[in-house]
Amino acid sequence: MGIVKYIGKRVLTLIPVLLGITILAFILNCMTPGDPVEMILTRDGDVMPTQEQIDIVTERLGLNDPYPIQYLKWLKNSLTGEFGQSFVTNKSISSEMVRRLPYTLKIAVLAMGFTVVMGLGLGILMAAFRDSWVDRILRSLTTIMLSIPGFWLAILLIFLFCEKWQLLPSSGYSGFASLLLPSFSVACSTIGVSARLTRTSILDELGRQYITVAKAKGLKNKAVVIRHALPGALIPIMTFLGTYFAGILGGSTISEMIFGIPGIGSYALDAVKAKDFPVIQAYVLYTGLVYVAANLLIDILYIVVNPKIRVGEKAE
């Protein structure tokens, strides 16, 4: 099967998945308690809205329509990339997502960079020095890394790098330096997981027959690990990292909130708090698309990394 045909087929099968996601999100929104109109009109917290005001806003938001009609209207608009206006800020959701996406992307890409470099690096070291003191220390370190809650690490990093040593800004985006702490706090636990996964995968590969042959040919341990075992070991790691990357592209909510980065995650969190239906809907569709695209990309990367894998075939 040609790769283009394969991708086309995958994309077609993903359409009902995405539709299903949006319908589920819509139903969940409808079932969630709370009246968005009341929330909008009582934001100042002092004065109760009149029935006339409630009626005006309800009509303006199209909430008088039956649920299926509301859903279909939204779906029709979203196909053209128009997600409507936020109930809370009255701003265009599409514009707001486009404005916020670069911040989330930057955090995601840098966090991915940390994870790939440190996770793979530590994993290779642990595998190369299996059962030595290096391995034991790094295993402990990675256990700690994957156990630390992200929000706690974020606060600790702010305390150390901003308050104590005054090396980095505490909040907001002001260039590369301001992304280091949020990205590392997002990446930390994944570094731990990917390092351990890399170690296990490499050790698994090292037990295979072709490695024994390579060693028998007199290749050094370093060359065996890096040139032979690592490529094979990368497959499960790539699956893990791909899903992880999709996750942070959906917004590293806690990190964005703590570090004051106005990304997609903090947008979604604010929307959930305020019961901002249109934003939540748009966010669900966006994350669905990201996951679907990430999975597709992972499949393609399998082929790039290991040509032995062919579409519809199993790796030997």
């Binding site: 009109l41 004065v47 800020t89 790939v116 901003c162 005054q166 505490s170 907001g172």
Partner: protein, 550 residues
């Protein structure tokens, strides 16, 4: 295998390069008043000017001109288009017709006003020396254009909504009597118009910055205030520049002010401690415990406290037993040791409250109460007849994040147990909290509210009027014919002294019958670095008086 290895390493190297290249890219959504400037350039300029000023390190006035003042805020001080006001009043970009200064109404863009005996016709005399930031003159036509804008509402905001019916109830006509005189005619008497128009009641914008059809702000707000918006990156920072053509009595010292949005409490604390920001300016910008820690551990900082318009209450469901009985509400009030709550949980910063009105309103009556557990038990026993009753106390998650409500709820739980109430504390997410409150599925709740203008009528009516919106909706179940009559009377009373007397009577009744049980009057706590002076709050921070210390 060698080819595969090359592919792997190529992939890894490519990823590293992409990461560096991509992350290093600047963002492109900076809005500037003059031209689109990149944020990096701005930061570099800022740093450069800061360095230059340090080098010159001369007089305070030099620093004021050259060194940017950076302030930290909980939220973006410019909510932007979509928000009724676009920018917070505390930024001093726009100005109202009248001002509420510590509860007293003072002239703003209107220098004086008068009304007929029935309070149905009001004439406002405008200042004739006011110019907008775009150089155009402020006059009666501008006021009329803004009133027309309010009619497009209600327009929502993170501050208070703009609603013509709230600020100008029963407005029939608005007319320009001459270039600087405006006349408002109402269908019913409006005795406190100057109160309702104060501050957020009448923001005056140049018509060029809003859509006449929808009322929506379409560009940077063009106001008449001491500062102009120079640059804004949504949810990141806003830069304000001094309006050197300001007409008013005193010109701000600092030429450029940057306000950073720092939503997280720990990050804000780190920012002020590291010197990244010189002061925190929003309500709740610093937690009580952090104030104590900061002041005790570092002598570079100072704290400025002012009375807040917020009051903390135990609000009760008066439609349900046991709080439908006034004796039970009184028992609870006697059982609350407000001094202990203040000292132990609020760092002694607040003031024990026994009256329903905020101690910041001009109509506040100083009412004192007492902590008397014996009396509380006696009253509770009359109601409960020796039985123990389970009550649900709900607390909003967001309130619990801003105030020590969780500890306060636990304290009340232990105290109220002594009078026969077994309190079940429920910390609820905002949506569930509203749902429980709206459906009356609670017995009591810790909550706070403030007053949106210096005249407390609308709030008092809402909370304790028999038909009051909050009273009905939140199931407070309070109804007193005498209070209703007093509220009806105060609504049409223009005489200030008479109004004060009526409000006094209402407060005495409320302290006796406790439709809501006041606990503490809140305080605004603002922390600043001693590198700046003239830091005062009104209750928002007054930027105009701030300057760099020598």
């Amino acid at each position: 295998m060698k080819k595969v290895s090359i592919r792997v390493w190529s992939l890894l190297v490519t990823m590293c390069v992409l990461v560096t290249a991509f992350v290093g890219c600047g963002n492109g959504d900076t809005q500037s008043n003059n031209s689109q400037e990149s944020k990096q350039e701005s930061s570099q300029e800022s740093e450069a000017s800061s360095e230059n000023s340090e080098e010159s390190s001369g007089t305070t006035s030099n620093l004021n001109e050259t060194q940017e003042l950076v302030l930290g805020s909980v939220r973006d001080i410019i909510p932007g288009d979509g928000d009724a006001y676009y920018v917070s009043m505390s930024a001093d970009v726009w100005e109202p017709l009248t001002r509420d200064v510590e509860g007293a109404i003072e002239p703003g863009l209107a220098k004086s006003w008068e009304h007929n005996e029935e309070c149905t016709e009001w004439i406002f005399h405008l200042r004739d020396d006011v110019y907008f930031h775009n150089g155009e003159k402020f006059n009666a036509d501008i006021v009329i254009a803004n009133i027309e804008r309010y009619k497009k509402g209600p327009m929502t905001s993170t501050y208070v909504s703009i609603d013509i019916d709230k600020t100008f109830p029963g407005l029939l006509t608005t007319e320009a009597m001459d270039e600087y005189t405006v006349k408002f005619t109402f269908s019913d008497p409006v005795p406190t118009l100057e109160y309702m128009m104060s501050n957020y009641g009448t923001p005056m914008y140049h018509p060029d910055c809003f859509d006449a059809e929808t009322g929506a702000v379409t560009s940077f707000v063009i106001g008449t205030g001491r500062y102009m918006i120079k640059e804004h990156v949504q949810d990141q920072y806003a830069i304000f520049e001094r309006n050197d053509n300001y007409y008013g009595e005193y010109m701000p010292y600092i030429k450029t002010v940057r306000v950073k949005c720092i939503p997280d409490a720990d990050a804000r604390y780190a920012a002020i401690k590291s010197g990244e920001v010189m002061a925190l300016i929003d309500n709740g910008a610093i937690l009580t415990a952090q104030v104590e820690e900061l002041l005790s551990s570092d002598d570079r900082f100072d704290v400025v406290m002012t009375k807040s318009h917020m009051t903390h209450y135990l609000k009760v469901n008066g439609e349900k037993f046991p709080f439908n009985d006034v004796r039970m509400r009184q028992a609870v009030s006697y059982a609350i040791d407000r001094e202990t709550i203040n000292e132990q949980l609020w760092g002694g910063l607040c003031t024990p409250a026994y009256g329903i009105l905020s101690y910041r309103t001009p109509f506040y009556k100083d009412i004192q109460g007492e902590y008397n557990m014996e009396k509380a038990k006696e009253l509770a026993d009359e109601v409960l007849q020796g039985q123990r009753v389970a009550v649900d106390m709900i607390v909003s998650e967001s309130r619990a994040a801003s105030y020590p409500y969780k500890a306060e709820a636990e304290y009340l739980q232990s105290e109220l147990a002594k009078i026969g109430l077994d309190v079940n504390i429920k910390i609820l997410d905002g949506t569930l909290y509203n749902e429980a409150r709206n459906n009356g599925e609670y017995n009591c709740t810790l909550d706070a509210h403030g007053f949106n203008n210096a005249d407390p009528y609308s709030n008092l009516f809402g909370y304790i009027g028999t038909e009051g919106g909050s009273n009905v909706k939140y199931h407070f179940g309070y109804s007193n014919a005498e209070v209703d009559a007093l509220l009806a009377e105060v609504k049409v009373t223009a005489d200030e002294q008479k109004r004060k007397e009526i409000y006094d009577q209402i407060q005495v009744i409320a302290a006796e019958e406790l439709p809501m049980i006041p606990i503490l009057y809140d305080v605004n706590v603002n922390v600043h670095n001693k590198a700046i002076t003239g830091y005062k709050t009104v209750p928002g921070v007054e930027w105009a008086t701030i300057q760099w210390a020598e």
